[in-house]
Amino acid sequence: MPDSSENAHGAALAAHEQHPSYLRHHFNSVEQQADASNFAMWLFLLTEVMFFGGLFTAYLVYRNWYYPAFVSGSHQLNVVWGATNTVVLIFSSFTMAMGVWCAQTRRRRGLVLCLTLTFILGLSFLGIKTIEYREKIEKHHVPGFHYSLQSFLDPQSDPEVYAEYHDKPLAPDMARHTELYFSLYFLMTGMHALHMIIGIAILGFMILRARAGTYTAGHVTFVENFGLYWHFVDIIWIYLFALLYLISRH
C-alpha cells in the first residue's frame, strides 16, 4: 500500500509538471482557459457593437430626417478611396486569419510574415484615411472649424464633384444639415480609426513576441482573440463604407 500511494503521489506531481507554463493557476485545464478568454473577447466585441450602436442610431435618425443633405454630403467623399480602403481591410483580415492558422500550426516565420503584412495593410488604411481627411480640411468640411456650406449652396463652385454628380443646390435650411452629416462622418470614421490605431499598436507588440516564438508553442489564445478584434474592426468599416459613401447608389 505505501508504495502505491507514493506512486499515485508521484504521478500527480508529474501531471503537475506537465502543466504548460501559460496555464494560469485558477484554471483547471488549458481548454477551460482558452474557452474563457475567447468567450470574454466575444463579450467585449458585444460591448463594442453597443458602443458603435449609439452612433449608428444617431446616423439612422438624421439620415431619415435630412436625406438630401446626407446625399450631397456623401458626394463629397471619394468612393474610389473608400473602396480601396475596403479592399485593403478585407485583405488584412485575410492575412490576419492566415496568421491565426500559422500560430495554430506552429509556423513561426509564417506568423511573423502574416502579422507584418497585417500591420502594413493597417497602416496603409490609415494613410488613405489621412488623404481623405486632408481633403475635407482643405474644403472646410470639418464641423466646428469654420465649416463652409459653399459646396452645397452652389455645387458648381466645386467643379470636380459637380462633374460627377450634377447635384442641384440645396436650400439653405437643408444645406446647414450637411454639417450633421460630416459630424457623423468624422465621429464614426474617427472612432473606427482609433480602433485601428490601437489594433496596429498591439500588432507591433505581437510581431516582436511572435519573432521570439511566444505564440508558436501551443498557446494561441492571444492571437485568436486579436484576430477576432481585427475582423470586428474590419466589419465595422464595411458598414461605414456602405452607410457613408454609398448613400445615393442603390
Binding site: H26, G54, W65, P143
Partner: protein
C-alpha cells in the same frame, strides 16, 4: 433569544482564526494594490465604495439641511444645484452601481460556484483602478467647483448653457463605466466557464442568477452611455451639432441614448440586491426558495424587459403618444417579475423556521420598502399620473424607496450576512439589530413625507419652496439625521468586530452555499479541495447529513 437562533459558533475558548487565509497569506500595502485575488479586490472595493457613500451622504445631509426652511439660507441656489448634482453622480455611479456586485459579487461569485477566482483576475483589478480613477476625478471636479446639470447631464443645459465642469464629470462617469463593463464581463465569463463539477445552471444559488442578469445589463447598456457622454463632450467643445437644434440636431436623442443605459442601470443596481435577499431569506427560514426556477428566470426577465422601458423617463418631453402607450405598457410589465420575486420570498417565509438575525431584519426592510418603491413606479409608469407626478418630490421618493430602501437595505443585509465569512468574526448582534431598526425608521421618516410633498406638487431640484410645505420637509430632514445614525452605527461596530468579534467558524448560519463549506476567512485559493456539487441549491437535508457525517468522523 438564545433558543431562537440558528447561530452556531465554535467554542470561543479554543477557537482560532485559521492562520493561513487570504488576508494573512501576503503582507504589505503593495500585496493589496497589486493583488489579483478576487477577495482582496472585493475588500478594496468595499473600503472605497464606503468612502464614496459617506461623501454622497454628507452632500445629501446638506440638501436636507437647506430644505429645512422654505428660504434659501444655507447656500446660494447655484451651490444647491451643484450639491444635488454631485450627490446624484457620486451615489449613482460610485456607490449604487458597484455596491453589491463589486464587493459581495466579487467576493462570493467564485466561491459560490466552486472556483478559485474570477476568470479574468487582472481585468478585475483593472476595473478597481478604473473605478478609483473615475471616483477621484469626480472628487477633483467637486473641489474645483463642481457641476450643476443634475446627474442626468441633460442637453442642451449641459452642452450650451452651463459653464461648470461638465467635461471632467463626464470623463469621470465615462471611466467608471468601463470599470462596470469589465466587472460585468468578468462575471458572465466566470459563471459560464468556471463552475465546479456538478454545478449545473439550476443548482446555482439565486445570488448568481441575479448577478448574471445584472451583468448582461452592464455589458450591453453601459457602452451606450459612454457614447452619449462622448457626444455631449464633443458637442460642448467642438459644437458638432448632434444635440443642437440650431444645426438640426435633437436634444431628445440624448435622452434616448442616456436612458437606454440609465434605466437598465437601476436594474444593475437592484438585481444584485435581490440576489442577496434570496440567500438571506432562505438561510433564515431554513427552506429552499419557493419557486426557485421562477425566481431565477424573473431576474433574467427583469433584465430583458429593462431594456425596453427607457422612454418612460420622457413622457413629458414630446415623444409620440403611441410611444408613450407602448412604453407605459412595457413599464408595467416589469412589475410582474419583480412581484414574482416578492411573492416567492413571502411563500418561502411561510411556515419556515424563521429566526430574526440582523440580515433578515434588513431583508424585511428591503421587502417592504422595495414593494412601496416598486408600486409607486407603476404610478409613474402610467402616462396620465406621470404628467402630474414627474419632476416632483414624488419621483425623488420613488427612486429613493427603490434605491435606498431597496438596494441599500439589501447591501447592508448582505454585508452582515457574509461579514463572518469575509473576516472570520461575528458582528455584535444586539446593536446591529438596533441599527437595522433605526435605519428603517429613519428611512421612512425621511422619504415617506416626500411622496406627499410630490402629490401636493412640490417640484424637485429647487433650493426654496412655498412655506406651506415646511412641516413635511422638517419631518424629512429630521428623518435624515436618524438615517445618518443608522448608517454610521454599522461602520463603527463592524470595525470594532474586526478585533473583538466572536470567532465565527466555517458556517455560523448553518447555510448551504459552497462559500460556507470552507474556512472563514477563506484560503487564497478558496477551497482546500476542489468542491463537487452533488445536491440541489438550498438543500438543508444535505447540510444536516453532511454535519452528522463530520461529527461522526470527529467522534
Amino acid at each position: 433569544m438564545s433558543e431562537n437562533t440558528i447561530v452556531s459558533l465554535p467554542d470561543q475558548s479554543t477557537a482560532r482564526i485559521p492562520r493561513d487565509n487570504y488576508i494573512t497569506r501576503e503582507n504589505g500595502l503593495l500585496s493589496w494594490l497589486l493583488t489579483s485575488d478576487h477577495k482582496r479586490i472585493a475588500i478594496l472595493y468595499l473600503i472605497s465604495i464606503t468612502f464614496f457613500f459617506f461623501i454622497g451622504g454628507a452632500l445629501a445631509g446638506l440638501i436636507r439641511l437647506e430644505l429645512l426652511t422654505p428660504q434659501t439660507d444655507l447656500m446660494a441656489t447655484d451651490t444647491y444645484n451643484k450639491v444635488f448634482t454631485m450627490h446624484g453622480v457620486i451615489m449613482v455611479f460610485f456607490f449604487l452601481v458597484p455596491s453589491v456586485p463589486a464587493t459581495l459579487g466579487n467576493f462570493f461569485i467564485p466561491m459560490m460556484i466552486g472556483a478559485k477566482d474570477l476568470a479574468l483576475p487582472k481585468i478585475n483589478l483593472l476595473s478597481w483602478y478604473l473605478y478609483m480613477a473615475g471616483g477621484l476625478l469626480a472628487l477633483y471636479t467637486m473641489a474645483i467647483g463642481g457641476v450643476d446639470t443634475g446627474w442626468t447631464f441633460t442637453t442642451p443645459l449641459s452642452t450650451h448653457y452651463v459653464n461648470t465642469n461638465v467635461l471632467t464629470t463626464g470623463l469621470a462617469v465615462f471611466i467608471a463605466g468601463f470599470s462596470s463593463i469589465l466587472t460585468g464581463l468578468n462575471f458572465i465569463v466566470t459563471i459560464h466557464k468556471m463552475r465546479a463539477p456538478g454545478m449545473t445552471w439550476f443548482r446555482l444559488p439565486l445570488f448568481i442568477w441575479a448577478h448574471y442578469a445584472a451583468s448582461i445589463l452592464m455589458v450591453l447598456a453601459t457602452p451606450v452611455v459612454a457614447i452619449a457622454i462622448l457626444l455631449v463632450a464633443l458637442e460642448r467643445t467642438l459644437g458638432i451639432g448632434v444635440f443642437d437644434p440650431t444645426k438640426g440636431g435633437d436634444p431628445l436623442l440624448f435622452q434616448h441614448l442616456f436612458w437606454f443605459y440609465s434605466h437598465p442601470a437601476v436594474y444593475i443596481m437592484i438585481l444584485p440586491g435581490m440576489g442577496v435577499i434570496s440567500e438571506v431569506i432562505s438561510t433564515f427560514s431554513r427552506k429552499r426558495i419557493f419557486g426557485y426556477t421562477a425566481v431565477a428566470f424573473s431576474s433574467v426577465a427583469i433584465a430583458v424587459f429593462g431594456f425596453f422601458v427607457w422612454a418612460h423617463h420622457m413622457f413629458i418631453m414630446g415623444i409620440s403618444n403611441y410611444a408613450v402607450l407602448v412604453f407605459s405598457l412595457l413599464t408595467m410589465l416589469v412589475a410582474v417579475p419583480s412581484a414574482i420575486k416578492i411573492f416567492n420570498w413571502t411563500f418561502t417565509l411561510y411556515k419556515g423556521s424563521i429566526t430574526f438575525e440582523t440580515p433578515l431584519l434588513y431583508a424585511f426592510g428591503f421587502m417592504g420598502l422595495f414593494t412601496i418603491g416598486g408600486m409607486t413606479g407603476v404610478f409613474l409608469g402610467s402616462s396620465g399620473t406621470d404628467i402630474h407626478l414627474t419632476e416632483t418630490y414624488f419621483i425623488v421618493a420613488h427612486f429613493h424607496f427603490v434605491m435606498v430602501g431597496g438596494m441599500l437595505m439589501a447591501f447592508l443585509s448582505g454585508i452582515h450576512f457574509w461579514w463572518p465569512k469575509m473576516t472570520g468574526r461575528m458582528y455584535p448582534e444586539k446593536i446591529s439589530q438596533l441599527a437595522a431598526v433605526v435605519t428603517f425608521i429613519g428611512f421612512n421618516l425621511t422619504f415617506f413625507p416626500q411622496f406627499i410633498l410630490g402629490m401636493l406638487g412640490m417640484p424637485r431640484r429647487y433650493a426654496s419652496y412655498p412655506p406651506e410645505f415646511q412641516i413635511l420637509n422638517v419631518f424629512s430632514t429630521a428623518g435624515a439625521t436618524i438615517l445618518g445614525v443608522g448608517y454610521l452605527l454599522p461602520v463603527l461596530y463592524l470595525i470594532w468586530s474586526l478585533k473583538y468579534g466572536e470567532i465565527a467558524g466555517n458556517n455560523p448560519w448553518q447555510a448551504t452555499g459552497l462559500e460556507w463549506q470552507t474556512q472563514s476567512p477563506p484560503l487564497t485559493e478558496n477551497f482546500a479541495v476542489m468542491p463537487v456539487m452533488d445536491h440541489e441549491a438550498y438543500d438543508y437535508d444535505w447540510l444536516e447529513k453532511q454535519q452528522k457525517k463530520e461529527a461522526h468522523r470527529a467522534g
